[in-house]
C-alpha cells in the first residue's frame, strides 16, 4: 500500500497534473465572481442595481445561472465556417490565458513552475492568443469577425512592445527573470516594492505596462477588436453557447493574469505591505489575490468610464507615445543603476 502511494505521489506526471490544475481552483470561482462583480460595479456606476434576484442576496448566483444557460444552448456553427478552426479557436485562446498561470507565484510556497525565465515565458505564451483570435475571426467566415481579428492581431502585437519594455525596466533592477526571485527581492515594507524604486521611472513603467496590458486583453478604451457599436462583436460574433462562454472566460482569466503580473512585478506580489505583519505563505496568497483584484477592479472602473479609441489612434498611442516613453524609462533606469 505504502509502495503504491509512493508510486503515485513520486510519479512526476501526477505532480504535474496536480500543479497544473491547482490554479483552476482560483480561476473558476474568480471568473464567476468577477463577471458578477463587473455587472454590479457597472450597474452601481450607472445608477442601476444590476442582477438582484438570482440566488437571493444581490443576485450572487447570476453568473452560475448564465453559465448553465450557455451550457444548454445549441452550439451553432455557421454553414460556411471552417469547422475545425472555428471549434479550436476558443480553446487556444483559453489555453494561452491559462498557461500564464503556470509561472505566476501565488505565494512564497506555491508556484506552478518556478522557471528561471518566468516573465519571459509568460509574455511569450500569452501571445498565443493572437493565433486563436485570428483563427476564430477567419474561420467564422464573417466580414465583421475578420475585421475584429485583424484589429486584434495588430493591436496585441503592437502593445507587446511597450509592455515588454516596461517589464524590462523591472528586470534590470531585479537582475532576474524569475518571478519568485523578483518577489523575494521586494520583501519588507511597501516602500521596497519596485513601483516606488528609482522614482518615478518604475512608476511610469507601471503605468505603461498597465495601459499596454489593457490593450492586450482588449478592455476599454482599447476594446476595438470587439467594439460592439462598430463590429457587432468582432471575432466572437458567430460564436454561441459554451464557445462564447470560453471567450468570456478567457477574457476574465486574462484580466487577472495581467493584473497578477503587474502585482508581482511592481507591487511585491505575495509580500505583505507591512513588513512581517500578516506575512507567511498563507497570508501571502491573500495579499497576492487582493492586489490582483484591486487592479482588476481598476480595469472594470476604466471600462465603464471611458469611450473607445479608433484603430489608428490606438496604433498612435502604442508606437508614438508608449514605446518612446518605455524606452526612456529603460534608459533612465539603466543610467541610474550605473551611477
Amino acid at each position: 500500500m505504502e509502495q503504491l502511494l509512493r508510486n503515485i505521489f513520486d510519479n512526476n506526471i501526477f505532480v504535474f497534473t496536480v500543479t497544473a490544475i491547482l490554479p483552476l481552483i482560483w480561476i473558476v470561482p474568480y471568473a464567476l465572481v468577477a463577471i458578477w462583480l463587473e455587472r454590479k460595479i457597472s450597474a452601481h456606476m450607472q445608477d442601476r442595481l444590476g442582477p438582484m434576484r438570482t440566488g437571493g442576496w444581490h443576485g450572487w448566483s447570476q453568473t452560475i445561472a448564465d453559465m448553465l444557460k450557455l451550457l444548454q444552448k445549441e452550439d451553432i456553427v455557421p454553414a460556411a465556417a471552417d469547422k475545425i478552426l472555428f471549434n479550436l479557436a476558443p480553446y487556444i485562446i483559453f489555453i494561452a490565458a491559462y498557461a500564464a498561470y503556470a509561472a505566476i507565484p501565488f505565494s512564497s510556497a506555491y508556484i506552478g513552475a518556478d522557471i528561471n525565465v518566468g516573465i519571459f515565458y509568460i509574455i511569450a505564451v500569452t501571445s498565443l492568443a493572437v493565433v486563436g483570435i485570428l483563427m476564430g475571426g477567419w474561420a467564422s467566415n464573417n466580414k465583421w469577425s475578420l475585421f475584429g481579428a485583424m484589429r486584434a492581431a495588430a493591436q496585441i502585437v503592437s502593445y507587446e512592445i511597450p509592455s515588454v519594455l516596461a517589464v524590462l525596466a523591472v528586470v534590470m533592477i531585479a537582475g532576474t527573470l524569475s518571478l519568485q526571485e523578483i518577489n523575494n527581492l521586494q520583501t519588507g515594507w511597501f516602500w521596497n516594492w519596485y513601483v516606488f524604486q528609482k522614482f518615478p521611472f518604475i512608476f511610469v513603467a507601471f503605468i505603461i505596462y498597465f495601459i499596454a496590458a489593457l490593450a492586450e486583453v482588449n478592455r476599454v478604451p482599447f476594446d476595438i477588436p470587439e467594439a460592439e457599436s462598430e463590429l457587432v462583436a468582432g471575432y466572437v460574433t458567430e460564436y454561441s453557447g459554451m464557445k462564447f462562454a470560453m471567450f468570456m472566460f478567457a477574457e476574465f482569466v486574462n484580466m487577472f493574469a495581467v493584473s497578477a503580473i503587474a502585482a508581482t512585478l511592481f507591487f511585491g506580489g505575495w509580500n505583505s505591505p507591512f513588513g512581517d505583519f500578516l506575512g507567511g505563505p498563507i497570508w501571502g496568497v491573500f495579499w497576492f489575490l487582493s492586489k490582483g483584484m484591486v487592479l482588476v477592479s481598476i480595469q472594470m472602473w476604466l471600462r465603464w468610464t471611458l469611450p473607445r479609441l479608433r484603430v489608428d489612434q490606438l496604433m498612435y498611442v502604442s508606437w508614438k507615445v508608449l514605446t518612446p516613453f518605455a524606452f526612456a524609462c529603460v534608459i533612465a533606469v539603466g543610467l541610474w543603476m550605473m551611477l
Binding site: 476595438i224 457599436s229 462598430e230 465603464w304 479609441l309 479608433r310 489612434q313
Partner: protein
C-alpha cells in the same frame, strides 16, 4: 483612391496579387444604425470608400394611412409613431397644420402647454441622441445617466396624459388634458434638477479627451454643403448656420421667450464636425429648459378645450406648416378636398433629409468614423421611413 488598386503587389513567385474593395453591409441589424437602417459600405480595409444608405425597413405607409382615417384627429396617433423619440414635436407640427387649414385660434393656455411639452420633449429627445452617441463611441455610462433624466421628463408626461412614449396629447384645437394639479411645481423642480446635470455630462463625455479625439474633425459638414443638402436642426446648426424655425419663422408663442439658437463654432476642430453637432444638442437642452422655465412662469389660466372643433371638415385647400422638431425642420403639407378625410398628407421629415448627407461626409473616413457620423446625425428610422 484608385491608385492603390492599380499598383499590383507581386508575390515571391512573381504572381500578381489581386486587390479589390470589400462590400460590407452595416445593418439592418447592427447595433449602431439606430434602428433598421442598412448602410452598404464599400471599404478598403478600414477605410470607407463609399456608403449607400438603404432605407424602407420601417416603412408603415403613414401618408397613405392618413388618407384613410375617418378624420383629421385620428391621424395624430400615427404622427406620434413617426418620430417615437420626439412624439410631442411631431404632434405639434401636425395639429398646427390642421389648425391653419381650419383657421382656428387656440386659447393661449393651450399654446403655452404645447410649448412646454414640445421643449421638454426636445430635451428628452436630445438626451437619447447624446446618450446613444456616447454608446456609439464606446462610453456606456453617460447613456444611462441621460436616461435617468429622461425618465423624469417621461414622468411629467405620464402625469399629464397617461402615456410615456406615444402621447396623442395634442389635439386639433387643443390638448387632450389640461395640466394636472402640481405639474407646474414638478416641472420647475425638474428644471432646477436638470441644469447641474449638464456639467456632469460635459465632465464625463463632452470634454473627455478620447471622445474629442474620436469626434473632432470627423465627418466635417461645411455650412454650404449642409444647406445644399437641405439639412436642418442640430445638424445644420452644428455646421455653423444660424437657422432655427422657432426664431426665424416663429409659430405658436415662441416669440415671447428670451432664448437663442446654439450653433457649432468648431471649438475642437473644424466647424461642422461630429463634436459640434453633439455639443449643439447638449447646449440646446439648456436653452430648452430656459424656455420651459419662462413658459411655466408666464402660463395663463383658462380652459383648454374651448377651441376643439366638434367636427373637422376644412374647406378645400392646402397648407404647408413647418416647425422645428428635435431633429430639424418638420413640415406637413396637408391638402383638403372639403370632406372629413384629408385628401393628401405629405410629411417632410428632417431625419430623412439629414441622412442623405451621409455618403458625402463619410467618404475617406474609417469604419469607426462612419459609426460616429451616423450617430451624430441622430436619425430616427421611424421618421426616415414613415
Amino acid at each position: 483612391m484608385t491608385d492603390i488598386f492599380e499598383t499590383s503587389i507581386k508575390t515571391s513567385t512573381g504572381k500578381a496579387l489581386r486587390r479589390e474593395e470589400m462590400v460590407i453591409n452595416m445593418g439592418p441589424q447592427h447595433p449602431s444604425t439606430h434602428g433598421v437602417l442598412r448602410l452598404e459600405v464599400v471599404a478598403d480595409g478600414e477605410i470607407v470608400i463609399d456608403v449607400i444608405p438603404h432605407i424602407g425597413y420601417l416603412h408603415r405607409c403613414f401618408e397613405k394611412h392618413a388618407e384613410n382615417m375617418t378624420g383629421y384627429q385620428q391621424v395624430v396617433p400615427y404622427v406620434d409613431r413617426m418620430d417615437y423619440c420626439a412624439a410631442m414635436n411631431m404632434d405639434f407640427g401636425y395639429v398646427l397644420a390642421v389648425e391653419k387649414l381650419l383657421g382656428i385660434q387656440v386659447p393661449e393656455r393651450v399654446e403655452y402647454i404645447r410649448v412646454i411639452m414640445a421643449e421638454l420633449q426636445r430635451v428628452a429627445s436630445h438626451l437619447i441622441a447624446a446618450g446613444t452617441y456616447g454608446l456609439d463611441i464606446g462610453a456606456f455610462t453617460p447613456f444611462l445617466y441621460m436616461f435617468r433624466e429622461r425618465e423624469r421628463i417621461l414622468d411629467l408626461f405620464e402625469m399629464t396624459c397617461g402615456a410615456r412614449l406615444l402621447y396623442n396629447y395634442m389635439w386639433v384645437g387643443g390638448v387632450s388634458h389640461d395640466l394636472p394639479p402640481g405639474f407646474i411645481d414638478k416641472a420647475k423642480d425638474f428644471c432646477q434638477y436638470f441644469k447641474p446635470k449638464i456639467k456632469e455630462y460635459n465632465d464625463l463625455l463632452s470634454y473627455n479627451e478620447i471622445f474629442i479625439k474620436r469626434t473632432a474633425n470627423v465627418g466635417v459638414l461645411p455650412g454650404d454643403v449642409a444647406i445644399a443638402y437641405g439639412c436642418s436642426g442640430p445638424v445644420l446648426r452644428g455646421s455653423g448656420v444660424d437657422f432655427d424655425l422657432r426664431r426665424d419663422d416663429p409659430y405658436s408663442v415662441y416669440h415671447k421667450f428670451d432664448w437663442k439658437p446654439e450653433i457649432g463654432k468648431g471649438e475642437m476642430g473644424a466647424v461642422g464636425d461630429c463634436w459640434d453637432r453633439y455639443i449643439v444638442r447638449i447646449r440646446e437642452m439648456i436653452q430648452s429648459i430656459n424656455i420651459v422655465e419662462q413658459a411655466l412662469n408666464q402660463i395663463p389660466e383658462g380652459d383648454v378645450a374651448t377651441a376643439i372643433p366638434k367636427r373637422i371638415r376644412p374647406n378645400a385647400g392646402d397648407v404647408y406648416v413647418r416647425t422645428e422638431s428635435a431633429r430639424g425642420e418638420l413640415g406637413f403639407y396637408v391638402i383638403s378636398d372639403g370632406t372629413a378625410k384629408p385628401f393628401r398628407i405629405k410629411a417632410r421629415s428632417p431625419s430623412f433629409v439629414n441622412l442623405s448627407v451621409i455618403p458625402e461626409i463619410s467618404r475617406g473616413g474609417m469604419i469607426a468614423d462612419l459609426v460616429a457620423i451616423a450617430g451624430s446625425l441622430d436619425i430616427v428610422l421611424g421618421e426616415v421611413d414613415r
